[in-house]
Assembly symmetry: C2
Homo-oligomer: 492 residues x 2
């Protein structure tokens, strides 16, 4: 197969693009900044979505669906939120096309079909949802509302990258309403934990839980909690956020409830989301120069079996055995494919499934069959070994578990090795330019200093980690006193 | 509960609206013609979607995702398709809002952020998808492509109704590409069969399979196959369509493939879709003046258990028994809820779950417990009977099956009784105005006559049924010769 991709060492960014295209996760489209998610990429997203959806439901949430469009007057109601998203909104202004009188077969926007009020294509749904919750909430008995939505959203980004930053993307957005501040805070943190659980235990990507600084906060939130992951090139990636919205949206949309004492108060809110961006994180956390490496728990295909034979007779004998194995594996819940297509040689198939990151490959030849063995090849370590066919299902289940664990362990080791303290400006800049990763440094707590550091180095405060111990120190830039280290990094 | 709804006999249309709102399937929104699908309605949609999705995958299809927006130049490429949808498109013309200099806190569309080319919010995705397939298809080896997409689409309808006709709706759209006409035709009919199977065996709504006349064909299709259902008010509802697109889109987007002999030819296409409109059909096919009636196979909740007690001691004894039952039922795969909330009386709960269409209700009181029995109430027939607690899981499974079957049987009986032949114009008009339903009548085969009948009576040809025998006759309107009866009806 002629599918070689750029090496990471040569050009990490190009490696990523090559990989996404050649592993057939996604494709460019005719619409600026929008991508096509190809069937293989979408199967991966379905596995991620289904696992997350179950976690949401297990924590008491239900799904619903709200309109794609937000009337401009609702969009602008929560001022900070509106300000944060106004610069990157797709706006619907008309509702009809008509024949172009000057060019046969062409269409023009019908100027007579101008909307009285423009519609914003949702960049996020707080506005339309809180405008709806107003009608759903009268009393404490109507609370909490624990709703999630799987949807497409549009943010008109200037520089886009497949999965990482696209004008349209798929995501889920939870929007909850509570009677008390405490309950809303518990919800915000609970969903951060759900995200961390998912990203670590399904995607095998270790994360740091933290809280964002004011500069990096979601527009309209009181506090933004986040999980931050580290990519192989030493850049950080925000993998999910959970916002404590206070009473901001309740006030903007006048959503009050009467409590048990019949006193009126504004409702407390949270929102939280993860998106198809996670696929970008997954690719960059694990994959190598041969292609994707996928964690077994979410891989569309966990095992592929390739026959190696000469002539029909050998093929028939292998087929018979493999069909037995496939039945056993499927019974054990394993996603398996037997690729006995005669359109490609085994070597080509091997490379193809390596490109696609299938965790385990089995190759079975005539001699293996005689000896009652099969060759297992792990995608993560590229180790091959011959194993007895007898009891192969248990071996495969154990191998899949081992791969899942190994991916997490090696990503965690890399991540842990790339959290480095810096105690002065020179160290800080030097670490950023040589080693990369997270830099644990003191900061004086002001937005101005954060902004100055960003301008000088392109590094941002990824988060104030939840589990950091207080420590006296001085800001790496200004030398002013600080009580805690925060994590800086250059980021996607 | 104060949730009485308008009786069907009084105002069928109002009954429908009341029911959708009060059963909490959907709500109006702040966006013209767009609805909010509430959690209960969305849980129903999830069950429908999951069942359909499995059927698509079992027939070899995979999911993918294509952009929400279609650049105008692509939209207009297939002329008939463009003409069909141009009048009802939401158009994005700008990509930014900015602060209104005249009003603090308000936003206006930034005139400097005008798109060079307008984007159409997809009313259907043939254009964007075939423009993509162009890059995916070179050779017969790339065919067939069997892709489905679950997505939101927008059609700017002037008169909207919850679920039945909304400006934005959720649907799935299959888009397949084939090397031969024959294969595309087989696919078109196969997916029609899948739809019929789903609507009949999951939704318990009988359908008639047929083909549309040229007037009612999908814009850009060579042939549109459909399934037509009958609502309780005698109006028909198109429940799903499967289009044979010929080579129209391949020609519009220049999608050619080389066959085994290395000869270039245009690719053959199909597309097929069903939408959240099906929920409207479901409501109108089965429900009554007390509320929804849902088929067990797709009901979000199949069984609800309500305790009837005085005092804590009785409650505790009932709880203990019900908890056992719930475990058993869940183990049997039944979606069950034990509603032991003390916020409402049993009578209120009974009415609430009737409104929501829960197929089976169990009521368990202290005396029942002593006697080892429980009261079962069927939502479809409203029959109640006392049954032994011993072996109740099997009884419930059998009852759920019986309800599923009964709903289909009675809908089919109603439907069959409402297919009436009309042999002249007077009969035709009379039947439409009195009995309603499908009218099997001869038609001269011309679009003009079809249009004239529509103008006179508001009845349209729902389909030319696939299973009708040829029969000589004369057109009910023009008296011209005809070789087959077609089905007319007023329709949603």
């Amino acid at each position: 197969m002629s599918k070689a991709i750029t090496a990471r060492s040569q050009d990490y960014s190009q490696w990523y693009n090559d990989l996404v295209l050649k592993a057939e996760l996604a494709d460019y489209s005719a619409v600026r900044g929008c991508m096509v998610i190809k069937p293989y990429g979408f199967a991966l997203w379905e596995n991620m979505r289904d696992a997350l959806d179950k976690m949401f439901k297990d924590t008491g949430h239900v799904n619903a669906y709200f309109p794609l469009f937000v009337p401009k007057s609702l969009f602008e109601a929560e001022e900070k939120n509106a300000e944060g998203f106004a610069k990157e909104c797709a706006i619907v202004t008309h509702y009809r096309l008509k024949a172009d009188p000057t060019q046969k077969g062409k269409l023009i926007v019908d100027p007579e079909a101008k909307l009285e009020e423009e519609l914003v294509v949702r960049p996020t749904s707080e506005a339309i949802i809180w405008n709806t919750y107003k009608n759903w909430i009268q009393s404490y008995r109507d609370l909490p509302i624990l709703v999630n939505q799987w949807a497409n959203v549009v943010r008109w980004e200037m520089r886009t990258r497949l999965f990482l930053r696209t004008a349209e993307f798929l995501w889920q957005e939870g929007h909850t309403a509570h009677a008390t501040k405490e309950e809303a805070l518990v919800e915000t943190k609970k969903m951060l934990d759900v995200y961390a659980d998912f990203v670590e235990n399904w995607m095998a990507v270790p994360v740091i839980k933290g809280v964002k600084t004011a500069n990096e906060r979601f527009a309209g939130a009181e506090d933004t909690y986040c999980i931050e992951a580290l990519m192989q090139d030493g850049k950080a990636l925000q993998a999910g956020t959970s916002h404590f919205l206070g009473q901001n949206f309740a006030k903007a949309f006048d959503v009050k409830f009467s409590d048990k004492e019949n006193k009126l108060d504004y409702v407390w809110a949270t929102s939280w989301g993860v998106s198809t961006r996670l696929i970008g994180a997954l690719v960059m956390a694990h994959s190598d120069d041969e292609g994707l490496i996928l964690p077994p728990k979410i891989a569309p295909l966990q095992v592929v079996i390739v026959p190696i034979y000469k002539g029909e007779e050998q093929k028939a004998a292998i087929d018979a055995k493999v069909n037995e194995i496939v039945v056993q594996l499927k019974k054990a819940g394993i996603r398996v494919k037997y690729d006995d297509s005669d359109q490609a040689r085994p070597g080509w198939k091997f490379a193809e499934y390596e490109m696609k990151g299938v965790p385990l490959r089995l190759a079975l030849g005539a001699r293996d069959l005689e000896q009652g063995v099969v060759e297992l090849a792990r995608r993560d370590t590229r180790e091959k070994k011959s194993m007895p066919l007898e009891g192969i299902t248990e071996v495969i289940l154990a191998q899949l578990d081992a791969i899942q664990k190994n991916l997490f362990d090696r990503a965690r080791q890399y991540r842990d090795e790339h959290i480095t303290p810096a105690n002065n400006w020179e160290e800080f800049v030097n670490l950023l330019d040589t080693k990369g990763g997270f830099i644990a440094a003191h900061w004086d707590g002001t937005p101005e200093t954060e902004e100055a550091i960003k301008e000088k180095t392109k590094a941002t405060i990824r988060c104030i980690p939840l589990d950091t111990a207080p420590e006296q120190g001085v800001c790496v830039l200004t030398g002013k006193p600080s009580t805690q280290r925060v994590l800086f990094a250059r980021a996607y």
